[in-house]
Symmetry: C2
Subunit: 271 residues, 2 copies
Amino acid sequence: MPTTPDTAFDRATALTPTAGGFTTELDPGWDVGGGVLNGGYLLAVVARAAVEVSPHAHPVALSASYLRAAAPGPATLAVTPGPAGRTLQHAVVVLSDPGGPAVSVQVTTATLHDVAAEHSVPPPAATPVEDCFSIAEHAHLAPPGVQVPGLSQRVETRLDPLTAGWALGQPGAEPVMRAWLRFADGREPDPLGLVAFTDALPPTSWATGRFGWAPTVQLQTLVRAVPAPGWCLVEARGGEASDGWVDEDYRVWDSTGRLVAQSRQLARLPR
Amino acid sequence: MPTTPDTAFDRATALTPTAGGFTTELDPGWDVGGGVLNGGYLLAVVARAAVEVSPHAHPVALSASYLRAAAPGPATLAVTPGPAGRTLQHAVVVLSDPGGPAVSVQVTTATLHDVAAEHSVPPPAATPVEDCFSIAEHAHLAPPGVQVPGLSQRVETRLDPLTAGWALGQPGAEPVMRAWLRFADGREPDPLGLVAFTDALPPTSWATGRFGWAPTVQLQTLVRAVPAPGWCLVEARGGEASDGWVDEDYRVWDSTGRLVAQSRQLARLPR
């Protein structure tokens, strides 16, 4: 592993090796409100642990079950690697806080190469970043009961006005959100950072005016390419909402318009 | 659990309880060619094991790492349940053949209720099933090197001619396939059957004339509702293809047009 840069994200995902895994200190600053840590942040910690024990450089697929909310503070990561192949390695990583297991993850690591895509998913038409608005700077516009989370101070989140009516008192009909994301301290995106970005927006149900916490039950994140420096465009789209369950799809494009990550999660609908 | 009906699918996924899990007999008839068992079939066996030990009735989310091809014949399922909640239960299931672990899965079980969707994904326009054609009955049309797999004799697969040019010597530009599916012996679909359906079509790369095996690396399947009896419409869509990797999205609608299951997988592109 190269030397880890000294940024908020790298500090918050730093690991100390132990027998069978790592210890870490979960940073309370990566919350989504109410002291609950962001699922993408937790998954990035897991991804770093898997890469550390792999002969390959990048997390390419992570499938996580969120067993319960992990508490900020000390945590352990138990890593059980599978056999390493020439192309990829599988591992199971369990993140536990003092209360027990919190996130259980199937991780696949591999090495992504800088080659052109054969078939690609182009980015949607989005408002240029300079015409978007920051969640953190518009805290006074937040809907009643909605806190501006610590996450939005770590990950600069500029909402596309076309899908941000909910933040201005005018929810829309479709559960879709778009935003430009970058680390607030200028850290450039990389595959580990992308993992965090694939669960970094508010629940898509907020776009339709249904506020409240939407706990993730399972989240699958795929990292498809090493991102170019600069802003990432993120689109989250709710699919079927039924019987208390909703699925959300994230797609992330880098500053060159290349699809670099995607995720799907099953979550509980806000009540 | 209710009495298991005597159908090909239920026999092929039957389990015998043991300490810590189950044994099963993987049926060589559910292959995708070359003696390789279908990933959806294996995932259905895993789903049945998770439901057996859960207080809840249905598999709602499964995220699987395919470690290596599982051999037909005797296999074991080690089930490690998490704490059971009122709404859902998580578990980890590892399916092993005599050679070792083959599939490692995060499973969430819950009970799906018969309620209307709040936001739904309508089915695509598809050719009526009576105007579609059967993979199994058109074996003579299979492209060179393409075997008609056992799977297509267990799961009746009627390809929509609009996306089946590849089977008639005229591959298309888009990696998309649609087909109507039902169990060949008349067994009606249910949540376990849907799990198998979310990985039941040929690789979407075949639609563009790129034949060959596309091994699944990770697969996430979500079951969203108990399906109505009758044919299911399945659409598989390839996304980003790059650097030897491809993602595929499946959506499954029941005979009433309701979205009942979906999946996403990361696979290796055929060479």
